[in-house]
């Protein structure tokens, strides 16, 4: 057991002014093989009609942001859906595996872009460090991948799953096997 507390001067860091600090967990292909090992995947893009959107919103109580849904029919049965939800500041892409009965087999976050504190998430705050590369000792994004104290709510993700379950009931279940 070893623990060392440091107060790092931020001027010494290189902070990249990208749209967000992202942790990439899985690609879509990796998530597919994690949720459905040894299966093959048939992609389908489904565009929801206005009526379907309304039904999904009514059934799930969750707003439908995107009418296009990216689904894959799984050779071993079930569906793989790639979707995203709006987090506190950024989009959070995630994947859901549904079995042949439409029950959730698993949920995998593909990418998370809100891993740092409010101050660091703020683009204006980040902007002040752009270009300060000389003498850099630490690259925030690369060296610090975890944060303690910023309780991350996953409510938006669970809402997203609820919405996709309603999407299954209203659209995918009928659209065939």
């Amino acid at each position: 057991m070893r623990a060392k507390f440091l107060l790092l001067p931020l001027e010494a860091m290189v902070v990249f002014a990208g749209p967000a600090f992202a942790t990439v967990y899985l690609t879509i292909e990796q998530a597919q093989s994690v949720l459905f090992p040894n299966a093959t995947f048939q992609p389908r893009t489904i565009t929801l009609t206005e009526e379907q959107v309304k039904s999904i919103e009514r059934a799930s109580g969750v707003h439908v942001l995107n009418k296009q849904i990216r689904v894959w029919r799984v050779s071993t049965g079930g569906w793989f859906i790639a979707d995203e939800v709006v987090g506190k500041h950024e989009f959070i892409p995630f994947a859901v595996g549904l079995d042949d009965q439409g029950a959730v087999k698993g949920v995998e976050i593909l990418e998370y872009r809100e891993a740092y504190g409010d101050q660091i998430r703020n683009p204006n705050w980040r902007q002040q460090f752009v270009g300060r590369q000389p003498g850099a000792r630490l690259r925030l994004e690369k060296d610090i991948r975890n944060i303690s104290g910023a309780t991350l709510s996953c409510k938006h993700v669970t809402d997203g799953v609820t919405r996709l379950l309603a999407t299954y009931e209203i659209v995918l279940k009928q659209s065939g096997r």
């Binding site: 942790t23 975890n146 910023a150």
Partner: protein, 297 residues
Amino acid sequence: MKSFSNNPVVERAQPWLGTLVSIRVEGLPASLAHRAIDAAFAEVATVHRLMSFHQEDSDISRLNRHAGCKPVAVHPHTFEVLRWALRFSSCSKGCFDVSVGAELVDWKFLPRPSGGTCEPGGSWRDIKLRSDGSVVFHRSLWIDLGGIAKGYAVDRASEILNSWGARRSVVNAGGDIRVNGQKAERIALDAGSPTNTLPVLELSDCSVASSTGRRHRRLHHGRLLGPHVDGITRCPAPTARFVCVVAKSCVVADSLTKVVMADGEKSREVLRRFGASAHLYDSQVGWRYLAGESNQP
């Protein structure tokens, strides 16, 4: 990213325990790493299902409905977490108390449970763990494991990754983090401290958990309340304070943040009992360190 053993670093995240749980494994071939992570997430999911205050069929909901009238059989995980909870309560003289569910319901941090009531004046002393693995309350209580279950889940996940032979792993449940392995992991602390520096912990082979009332405080009948309750006074802990506790196990780190939140510098003795240490921040005093790393359990 490559690890020291040429095996890939595999990291995944799933939503559990009301937060994002991420698991990173190094030192295993990818396929084995994924199976280890699957097993670790399955354990986190089990803890989630057993200890949720919100789900009506969880052990906690069943205890809150029936344990005031008769013994209720619970899963060994729930029993173990309650055993830890009572130990923390006893050592902190009741500052840590899982029976504060009633206050959290009153202050609208938790939903009112359906069925079952809560008698006033109850405390951790009313919780009885029976030798047959069941639990009974001497009076009706609403217990909430929100201050301890995440830490326990992180420990369980971490132990599973060890059993799969992971040479290094990092499990993070919403900021309750356990690092296994000698290579230090840098963890930023979101303490609300001045913006010209970033507080960072470098951890190896231990855990950290943090608490702050800053993010979740709310007005209730004209009072600013945070989600942390001092079990002795039944009043909210100071909301402007940030606390992080470092300990070998995450269940200790998670639980003791609540004691340090409420008791501040007075919690040194409890920290020492559990081989933990704490860093506190508030805007008036700045950073403080409370050491107590001897007698590690």
